[in-house]
């Protein structure tokens, strides 16, 4: 798999596999101006170690971003600055997980969290999603089952808004119920929210943190998608005792995040341009998402289904069960196009017929051409399967995987979604 992913990074390959924000949309002149001001006015602070919990100016900027997410009561001292959102996930695991502890995640889950869970030897239990996000009924049943086994999860990890890789958003009733369930069971919920401000349609939903008031919810945020990923500045907001432990963990991990990056963020926020820049990104990504959805509607057949993200950077497409997207990627690379095979988002071998497609890091022309090329190899495989079985283009064929590996939950290996409406150009997901 890693070999395949290395091949996707070659320059002639149209890669819909990446997760990169398009930072070329951040003006070079602005970068130069902010950097110059920072260097002139604060060169010593910029070059020196900072406090573990972060430089106050950047924490103030984070309070401003959180207010934009409608989380309004926070103070600077509530914020722990981290080296990207990824470190926040690592710190949460480092602080809370002992080998063998149960961690609950969505199915599929953020592929970047999988190595974190793995390196702390968590026993990850995945809860399936549909168009409204994590299925809370399944979560409750799972919690009961675990209780019967004498197991108490350490936390529930979720990306409720514009899920990576699922492309779906948790509905308001489910958010409310999740917060209630967390309270009933006194369980921590880790709300990873890198994309919340990148909404292209629909009304914003309250964050889990807002609904819960910060009692059981640990909130993780990042500047990677709203400013620049290369800065590696993220943050965590956590209930008091957890916050202290995260802080100690961070001290052990890297003492403090880069002062240079933090000072850049704080000087950038002084310009007052961050909301304007956010709009630039949103407009860019919204157009690219539309191009991808249009291309999928045009090129992918009725055998495929895909999510309709209202924001974020990704969508999740699922093919007939007999197509293994890890193998398909090999064929796709012959056509110089790449995607992320779905299996990486599961810890139990599921997701074999799904793929994650990114629309933020590639031009509109490349998105369209990339989707066309993928659909070409998909159609080849569907036709071949039809030839082999004597059933041309079956709508939902019999799985050809080992019966022992088949989930007992029939729809748990896909993000279940309404099929494409032929009258509408696009797939309709969680509207």
């Amino acid at each position: 798999m890693r070999d395949l992913m290395a091949l996707t990074a070659q320059p002639h390959v149209i890669s819909l596999a990446g997760g990169l924000p398009d930072v070329s949309a951040f003006p070079a002149e602005l970068l130069a101006k902010v950097t110059a001001e920072m260097a002139a006015e604060a060169h010593v602070r910029t070059l020196q170690y900072g406090p573990t919990e972060g430089i106050d100016d950047v924490r103030a900027a984070i309070v401003e971003v959180m207010a934009a997410e409608n989380i309004r009561h926070l103070e600077v001292d509530d914020i722990l600055v981290t080296t990207g959102g990824q470190q926040a996930i690592d710190l949460v695991c480092r602080t809370l997980v002992d080998p063998g502890d149960v961690v609950i995640a969505e199915a599929p889950t953020y592929p970047g969290a999988v190595p974190c869970f793995g390196s702390f030897e968590a026993d990850v239990v995945q809860i399936s999603m549909d168009a409204d996000g994590m299925r809370i009924d399944e979560l409750e049943a799972t919690l009961e089952r675990l209780k019967g086994e004498g197991k108490r999860p350490k936390f529930i990890y979720t990306v409720p808004t514009f899920h990576n890789p699922g492309g779906v958003t948790m509905s308001l009733p489910r958010r409310k119920r999740l917060v209630e369930v967390a309270r009933e069971h006194e369980l921590l919920v880790v709300e990873d929210n890198p994309y919340g401000l990148l909404r292209y349609e629909g009304d914003p939903l309250p964050t889990l943190y807002e609904l819960d008031g910060g009692e059981f919810v640990i909130y993780l945020g990042t500047f990677s998608k709203i400013l620049a990923a290369g800065l590696r500045v993220g943050w965590a907001v956590a209930p008091g005792p957890v916050f202290q432990k995260l802080n100690i963990g961070k001290q052990a991990a890297d003492l403090c995040s880069s002062s240079l990056s933090q000072m850049f963020v704080s000087y950038y926020f002084r310009t007052g341009l961050w909301r304007q820049q956010l709009e630039v990104y949103k407009e860019l990504y919204r157009r690219r998402r539309d191009v991808m959805l249009d291309a999928l509607a045009e090129f992918f057949g009725p055998e495929a289904e895909w999510t309709h993200p209202q924001g974020g950077l990704f969508l999740w497409a699922t093919l007939p069960d007999y197509i293994d997207t890890s193998d398909l990627l090999v064929r796709a690379l012959d056509e110089d196009v790449a995607f992320v095979p779905g299996r990486g988002a599961y810890l139990d071998g599921r997701g074999g017929s799904s793929m994650r497609l990114n629309f933020s890091g590639v031009s509109e022309d490349d998105i369209r051409e990339g989707v066309r090329r993928i659909s070409k190899v998909v159609h080849e495989q569907i036709a071949l399967y039809g030839t082999l079985t004597g059933v041309p283009a079956p709508a939902r064929p019999t799985p050809s995987v080992d019966p022992e590996t088949v989930s007992t939950e029939p729809m748990a290996d896909v993000v279940e979604l309404p099929r494409r409406d032929p009258d509408d150009g696009r797939a309709r997901g969680s509207q």
Binding site: M1, R2, D3, L4, A6, L7, Q10, D321, Y322, I323, D324, D327, L328, V330, R331, Q381, A383, L384, Y385, T387, L388, T389, G390, T398, P399, S400, V401, D402
Partner: protein, 313 residues
């Protein structure tokens, strides 16, 4: 001391493994006092080699281009000596269908098989022959792309309903695939250096049913027994079969022959011959050499020596 160009990486699916093999070889060559240039194989390979003018090329490229004879052919044209087998032996080893036909014709036991191109299914109705094939091979059946290394694209079908999916997967890697009778038993490898068989290695997957691509290269997922737990007679027979295959294919320098030993009948059969075996720290050939008292540096030194004209002439 010689100027050695280590060819590695490339565009194949086994790029990462190749980079690991190459890096390890480069370290050994440095220790041996050679002048070493690592070459990540790209579009400018010929120009690079013309500029470098190495005394010898060490081929640490796995998969397409490195193992199918392409690079070897280019090096022949450029007049640069290289490690391992020549273009024709590489071509015979690389194409499993050709290799198995050669073995059948040459009297070397290999599991029963049938091979088809994608066009046979698309244009000649080969799908209708599947039930007959399934009956003759009996389940489980192994479905493999004809060309490709490291177990990539290899699937097991334990019933007729699983065959089409396995074929679709295998056709992702190659336009030609083979359906092979599964031999339940021990997974053996005989490495050969300069026509001499090394101790047999047995690969025992730790928990997976099948020795897959990831397991093959990750420490801890496969246990290697070297020497394999075999009787002297079985060891001798495995080595003899491996040497027969080596000779039949016309190999040179080094190679690794993969065999199966049926767990009930004890029958040995040859699966395939690898013309450019892995040289990573988990690879089988270096382990076998080590067991034979040939350390990695010595192994690399011998392979370079074998490639140089004075030895091969």
């Amino acid at each position: 001391m010689s100027h050695v160009a280590v060819l590695k990486g490339g565009r194949s699916l086994e790029r990462q493994v190749s980079l690991r093999s190459g890096a390890r070889v480069e370290d050994a060559l440095h220790r041996l006092g050679h002048d070493v240039t690592g070459v990540d194989v790209r579009g400018d390979l010929v120009r690079q080699l013309r500029e470098l003018e190495p005394d010898v090329a060490f081929i640490a490229l796995h998969g397409r281009d490195g193992e199918d004879g392409t690079i070897q052919e280019l090096l022949e044209v450029l007049g640069i000596p290289y490690t391992g087998s020549g273009p024709s032996a590489c071509a015979r080893c690389w194409d499993k269908v050709l290799a198995k036909h050669l073995m059948c014709d040459g009297g070397i036991p290999t599991p029963d098989f049938y091979a088809f191109s994608e066009t046979a299914f698309r244009e000649l109705g080969a799908a209708e022959a599947l039930p007959a094939i399934e009956e003759r091979l009996a389940f489980p059946i192994v479905v493999k792309p004809a060309r490709g290394g490291s177990a990539l694209g290899i699937k097991f079908a334990s019933s007729a309903t699983q065959v089409p999916g396995a074929l679709v997967a295998a056709f992702s890697y190659d336009r030609k695939v083979l359906l092979e009778k599964h031999v339940a038993g021990h997974d053996l490898a005989v490495s050969i250096v300069d026509g001499e068989a090394l101790p047999v290695v047995e690969a025992v997957p730790n928990d997976e049913d099948f020795y897959d691509f990831e397991a093959r290269y990750e420490i801890g997922r496969t246990t290697f027994l070297c020497p394999a737990d075999l009787s002297d007679a079985d060891t001798a027979r495995a080595q003899q079969l491996a040497l027969e295959a080596w000779s039949l294919f016309g190999c040179r320098g080094f190679a690794r022959v993969d065999l199966m030993r049926h767990s009930e009948t004890g029958e040995l059969s040859v699966l395939e011959v690898n013309a450019v075996p892995g040289l990573t720290d988990t690879s089988l050939l270096p382990q076998a050499a080590d067991e034979a008292g040939i350390g990695f540096d010595e192994l690399v030194a011998r392979l370079v020596q074998l490639a140089l004209p004075s030895v091969t002439a």
